[in-house]
């Protein structure tokens, strides 16, 4: 600090001593940025290289770079029934999660955009689940959907004796209960994104369409919803990214069960690396996850950054 204060004087009076100080000033910004960049370089990109290399070895309990197996882990991975289950679950989960969240989010945003009294009261209610941890959400839904004490039990005690809802205990349907909880958690957020999009629509366009006699339905279908394309894209990217990483919610609700019915790629990675001491395969599964995410994120970021520069 003393150093920075002393600098003002030399700059104004002693021209001769400026050179080294100025050199420092010139380097200072880079010096300040350097530690962060170095950390990212090591902890993100270095670690990706490490994991990539690891995925080509036969490592079991600990990293072991002496046993190269080439793409052997990837071959084993895609022949492993648990990985196939995980991929199928991801496909079901991701598609339903993205579609239901988008439809619900857009629907609620449109309804909320009709000059609703109490919007300021309703909006935070739709959005608060986003502040909760997936573990908390998982606990709430796990017991709410539990046949013993939850929904089924409630319906029975209200007199609907034949009501049955045991999806969470049923290998065929358990993955859908995770969709239910995840949609509950994220749809409010998607609603907020669409609402921001709707508020940005130019009123003149809508007025012009109204003068031409277009009905509200037509205006939404033909003009407003097509204008929401960038929001759909952002929502898709965010939700797909969350879906591929989904781990906590599954752990809290079913821990992959019944059996392996609700395994996801993230759960597979964890269980194989740390539970079954198959570090090579665990690393391979993490690589596949990263490639899935990057195949969505990289084109998106590229177009966003380029678009930003143009405008």
């Amino acid at each position: 600090m003393a150093q920075t204060q002393a600098e003002i004087v030399p700059v104004l009076t002693q021209r001769t001593s400026r050179a080294p100080k100025e050199a420092l000033q010139e380097w200072l910004p880079k010096l300040v940025l350097a530690p962060s960049f170095a950390l990212i370089l090591l902890f993100v990109y270095g670690f990706i290289v490490f994991t990539a290399a690891l995925s080509l070895t036969g490592s079991k309990l600990l990293p072991d770079f002496s046993t190269w197996v080439g793409l052997g882990n990837y071959v084993r991975l895609f022949n492993h029934p648990n990985w196939i289950t995980a991929l199928k679950n991801l496909a079901i989960f991701a598609s339903l999660y993205i579609i239901v969240c988008s439809v619900l989010g857009l629907g609620l945003a449109i309804l909320l955009d009709q000059k609703i009294r109490g919007e300021g009261f309703l909006r935070p209610i739709y959005l608060y689940p986003m502040a909760l941890s997936f573990i908390v959400t998982g606990v709430a839904w796990k017991w709410f959907l539990d046949p013993g004490i939850g929904l089924e039990h409630v319906m029975h005690s209200w007199g609907w004796e034949s009501f049955s809802f045991r999806w969470i205990k049923d290998g065929k349907f358990a993955i859908y209960t995770i969709v239910i909880a995840a949609v509950w958690q994220s749809s409010g957020f998607v609603m907020a994104m669409f609402l921001a999009g709707l508020r940005g629509v130019d009123n003149e366009v809508i007025k012009a369409a109204q003068i031409d006699g277009a009905s509200t339905m037509t205006i939404y279908r033909r003009i407003i919803i097509p204008l929401m394309r960038p929001v759909f894209l952002s929502a898709f990217v965010v939700l797909a990214h969350l879906a591929i990483k989904s781990y906590d919610l599954v752990v809290a609700m079913t821990d992959g069960g019944p059996g392996t019915a609700t395994w996801t790629p993230a759960l597979f990675m964890q269980k194989f690396t740390f539970g079954r001491n198959e570090m090579g395969m665990g690393a391979a599964s993490a690589m596949v996850m990263m490639m899935m995410i990057f195949s969505i994120i990289v084109p998106y970021l590229y177009s966003e950054l380029r678009g930003g520069r143009r405008s």
Binding site: T4, E7, I8, V11, Q25, L28, P29, K30, V32, L33, S36, F37, I40, F43, V44, Y45, G46, F47, I48, F50, T51, L54, P63, L108, L111, I116, L122, I125, Y126, L127, Y128, A131, L132, S133, V136, G138, V139, A140, W143, F144, L151, H153, V154, S157, W158, A192, A235, H241, I244, K245, Y247, D248, V251, D255, A266, G282, S285, M290, I293, I297
Partner: protein
């Protein structure tokens, strides 16, 4: 004629509005339901949950489940309740948020006001780092924490969270400072102000909103983290999310649902309070995290 049709239009308008309000309120109920279930059942004795109805208000109100969840419930091997783990989370979150926010602010400042060749590549790499699935860094992180003797410590978790939060904090501040008039910075530079003086006297005073957004974003993400917490913590550094999961999914003994619910609310309380107090900034952070560039 026209009066009639207008009357019809008005009536169908009221009907439409009634439908809209009904749908909106039903969804509000849907979003509040799990919170209601947790709250109501955390105030009931256990037999009332098992025999009674989850939706019903308690017949016999009790705060015993809350006391148990906080200080006596069995978690892992010791009957400590969630209190020590809550404290672990606080000790982990505060320095991690502070570190990543300060570094993010400085990075954003450099990347917008002291541009250099290749700064876009640096920013691009930091941005991409926001989106990696953390599974990809799990094994080497465990390795490096082990090598540095930080495995299983709160310090280790602080470092991990601070580092993997850098991408987002840098992004937030960069986008904010991008809109800040560069002429002011140049003018101060001509007047002889130094790098840090400009930051402290000129940018920092108008950074209030983005600091709030960043702190909330980081606080929420780190408090709610489970993956790093479950992978890198040991007995005395377990954060609250992991402890809650242990409490709920422990296979021994009777399932004390009421204690689980109380524990879940306890674990959610800090982020919920932040959300209620500063929801506007919370939403802004979410949007900034979603819409980049």
């Amino acid at each position: 004629m026209s009066a009639v049709s207008q009357d019809n239009a008005a009536r169908s308008g009221t009907l439409a509005r009634a439908v809209i309000y009904t749908v909106l309120i039903l969804f509000a109920v849907y979003y509040l339901l799990p919170l209601y279930v947790m709250l109501v059942n955390s105030l009931k004795p256990l037999n009332e949950i098992r025999e009674g109805n989850m939706m019903a208000l308690p017949r016999e109100w009790t705060i015993a489940p809350w006391l148990s969840a906080w200080s006596t419930a069995q978690i892992g091997v010791s009957p400590t309740g969630l209190r020590p783990y809550f404290l672990n989370s606080v000790l982990m979150v505060v320095p991690a948020v502070a570190l990543s926010t300060i570094l993010g602010a400085l990075n954003g400042y450099v990347l917008t006001k002291w541009r250099f060749r290749g700064d876009n590549i640096v920013f691009g790499m930091m941005l991409l780092a926001c989106f990696i699935p953390f599974q990809i860094v799990l094994i080497p992180s465990a390795r490096i924490l082990g090598l540095t003797g930080l495995a299983g410590t709160i310090t280790g978790l602080v470092l991990i969270h601070a580092i993997y939060g850098l991408g987002f904090t840098t992004l937030f501040f960069r986008n904010y400072y991008e809109a800040f008039p560069t002429e002011l910075v140049r003018a101060a530079q001509i007047d002889g102000a130094s790098f840090f003086q400009i930051f402290r006297r000129i940018l920092l005073p108008s950074s209030g909103p983005i600091i709030v957004v960043t702190v909330i974003w980081q606080f929420t993400n780190i408090w709610n983290d489970f993956l790093f917490g479950s992978s890198f913590s040991s007995f005395d550094s377990i954060p609250i999310t992991v402890a809650l999961n242990n409490l709920v999914n422990s296979s021994t003994g009777v399932k004390e649902y009421n204690v689980h619910f109380a524990g879940a609310i306890l674990a959610a309380l800090p982020t919920l309070v932040v959300y209620i107090v500063s929801g506007r900034y919370f939403v802004r952070g979410l949007m900034a995290g979603a819409v980049k560039g």
